[in-house]
């Protein structure tokens, strides 16, 4: 599509961008080289001023997150979150497979900004080949003097390492990820303390998503006025929208934040499969609140501030499209069975709640439900909310409660 903007998926316009010499011929490592000439605090300030927000789902301001690291506790660590596991999300995989050097440069900038000398890349276990691929790239960068001791003649040294997970959605949650990286079960930690103060091995740690990090070479290399010409005031830059479900052309679409759902679904995604009628949108993967796909929703700009208009967060922008063929009581069973499988079991409301919601939604779909099942399901979901150690439990209730509220007729007579 002609009006996609490629700041992150630049490999779609530049062949062989994964090769070091090609990447360097195309402004590669200029952002990192500029950063190395700056004071670390100034790099943090520039990223703060850029308005970049975390692309993993929470949308937290990246520069602000970095600024929480105390300067009297060392060493600092940076961990790249490449555990991409949210149903409907497949953006980080494309960056890692096709534009790995921009991601690595971004990670290097983040490491320099917080003066970490070690960075880890935590990848989901299924990304086994990508990890081997990144290891090759890291070795090349060491050969080229861009990684290792005294980089480019400065006093700054940095080593990067890959680490594979082994099939656990919860490890995308940043404290569970740290536990896993420490060789333990991937179960979230009680907070506070937050990872910025007590993270990996008890040391101050920044955890950033792959897409977030991949923005940094653009911000440092081309400056904030260039970066901020894309997106909105509160949601600057571009975003990779993962479009899936009942559309003709599912895939990754990089668009400035602020474009509408209508543009994504109908112009880029080619509309609904088999000329069907759109019913609902999930904007944050399986963790989404269901959005009724009326005219107002379709014309809503996709930004982090859209929660105010739609009551549904953008999250990781994993946009799953549902048409009239989709029965919402089937859908909530799909999402609930996912969360039941992925609940780590540490806290009771999530472990038991997802188990029972799965039990009830299965019965709702069996053709022989109990008359009070819908009310019971609502009750269980409400009891989970606000009581869990991490967001997984909360996420498990989103489609359930919004589905029953907005599509009640799908649940009647089930």
């Amino acid at each position: 599509m002609s009006d996609q903007v490629y700041l992150l998926l630049r490999h779609r316009e530049i062949p062989d961008l994964d090769r070091l010499e090609v990447y360097r011929q195309n402004e590669g490592f200029q952002g990192f080289e500029k950063a190395l000439q700056m004071k670390p605090a100034d790099v943090v300030q520039q990223v703060k001023d850029s308005g970049l927000r975390g692309r993993g789902g929470a949308g937290f301001p990246t520069g602000l997150k970095w600024s929480f690291l105390p300067n009297n506790l060392w060493p600092h660590y940076v961990v790249a979150n490449a555990d991409e596991s949210e149903p409907g999300t497949f953006k980080d995989r494309e960056i890692l497979e096709r534009n790995p050097l921009q991601f690595l440069e971004g990670l290097m900038i983040a490491c320099y900004a917080v003066q970490a000398n070690t960075g880890y890349i935590y990848l989901r276990g299924e990304f086994w080949q990508i990890a081997a691929w990144l290891d090759e790239k890291i070795a090349e960068l060491e050969q080229a003097g861009l990684l290792g001791d005294r980089i480019l003649g400065t006093d700054y040294s940095l080593r990067l390492y890959t680490h594979l997970g082994a099939g656990a959605y919860i490890c995308g949650e940043e404290t569970a990820l740290l536990e896993s990286l420490e060789g333990k079960l991937g179960q979230p930690r009680l907070r506070p303390p937050f990872p910025a103060v007590e993270g990996l091995y008890g040391k101050p740690t920044v955890i950033n998503n792959v897409e977030t990090l991949s923005n940094l070479p653009v911000i440092l290399g081309k400056g904030n006025s260039f970066y901020r010409q894309y997106g909105t005031d509160r949601s600057p830059g571009t975003k990779i929208f993962c479009l899936s479900g009942r559309v003709n052309r599912p895939g990754n679409y990089e668009l400035p934040l602020g474009r509408t759902f209508r543009e994504l679904i109908y112009e880029h995604g080619g509309g609904i499969l088999e000329d069907g009628k759109i019913k609902a949108i999930m904007s944050a993967g399986a963790s989404s609140t269901l959005i009724v796909a009326d005219e107002k929703a379709l014309d809503t700009p996709m930004t982090y501030e859209m929660t105010d208009a739609l009551g549904a967060p953008l999250g990781s922008a994993s946009v799953i499209i549902l048409d009239e063929t989709v029965d919402m009581k089937w859908l909530v069973h799909k999402t609930v069975s996912f969360f039941r499988h992925e609940s780590c079991g540490k806290c009771t409301p999530c472990r038991e709640g997802t188990y029972w919601m799965n039990h009830i939604t299965r019965r709702l779909n069996s053709g022989q439900p109990n008359p009070e099942d819908v009310e019971l399901l609502v009750d269980v979901a409400r009891e989970i909310q606000g009581k869990c150690l991490c967001a997984l439990g909360e996420f498990s209730t989103m489609a359930v409660l919004s589905g029953i509220e907005k599509f009640r007729s799908d649940f009647n007579g089930s």
């Binding site: 276990g125 997970g165 060789g183 091995y201 993962c242």
Partner: protein, 176 residues
């Protein structure tokens, strides 16, 4: 040095070098992947050897194996055919695809073919929702993705793996 350490000495040293020396435990997942490489399963001996190398209890290592779905302490098919049937894939026919594949292989979900080569199972999201139906093959120390699949193309992949296993068995017989 125990048997597992001796078998993979170079690789184990490389893995341990990634983490601070006093944080050896971080290497437990990489070492478990290593143990699984040759036969897609972690044996009790390997479990004990990994515990010794990392100065962990055997129970601690076993709990890691139990927690993460990609680690196996039971011998099943040499290749695990893992089909994603999560929501985005299911919206594009993954459930029908999975049923068709089970039927063709003559096994039910989670079952293993009589030749012991293939275990077929449903798995959670594989980050390939735009190319559904999709499955991965876990075996021989690798994980490979197959995307935009039909039952026919999937059966070709399975036939090729079966052929590979047959050839290997022949060459072993030849050598013996």
């Amino acid at each position: 040095m125990n048997a597992f350490h001796a078998k993979y000495q170079t690789e184990i040293e490389q893995i341990l070098a990634k983490y601070p020396p006093e944080r050896k435990r971080s290497a437990v997942m990489p070492l478990l992947f290593l143990a699984q490489r040759d036969d897609n399963y972690i044996s009790p001996n390997e479990l004990a050897d990994i515990a010794e190398i990392l100065e962990m209890s055997v129970t601690d290592v076993a709990s890691v194996v139990g927690f993460y779905t990609l680690f196996y302490d039971q011998h099943e098919g040499r290749y695990r055919i893992q089909v994603c049937t999560d929501l985005p894939c299911a919206l594009r026919g993954a459930e029908t695809f999975f049923e068709a594949l089970c039927k063709e292989l003559g096994v039910s979900s989670g079952g293993t073919t009589p030749d012991g080569l293939f275990t077929i199972e449903e798995v959670k999201c594989l980050a390939a929702c735009h190319r559904a139906p999709v499955f991965q093959v876990q075996g021989d120390g690798e994980i490979a993705y197959y995307e935009n699949q039909t039952a026919e193309t999937a059966l070709q992949v399975i036939a090729a793996l079966r052929e590979k296993a047959v050839q290997e068995a022949r060459s072993r017989e030849g050598a013996a």
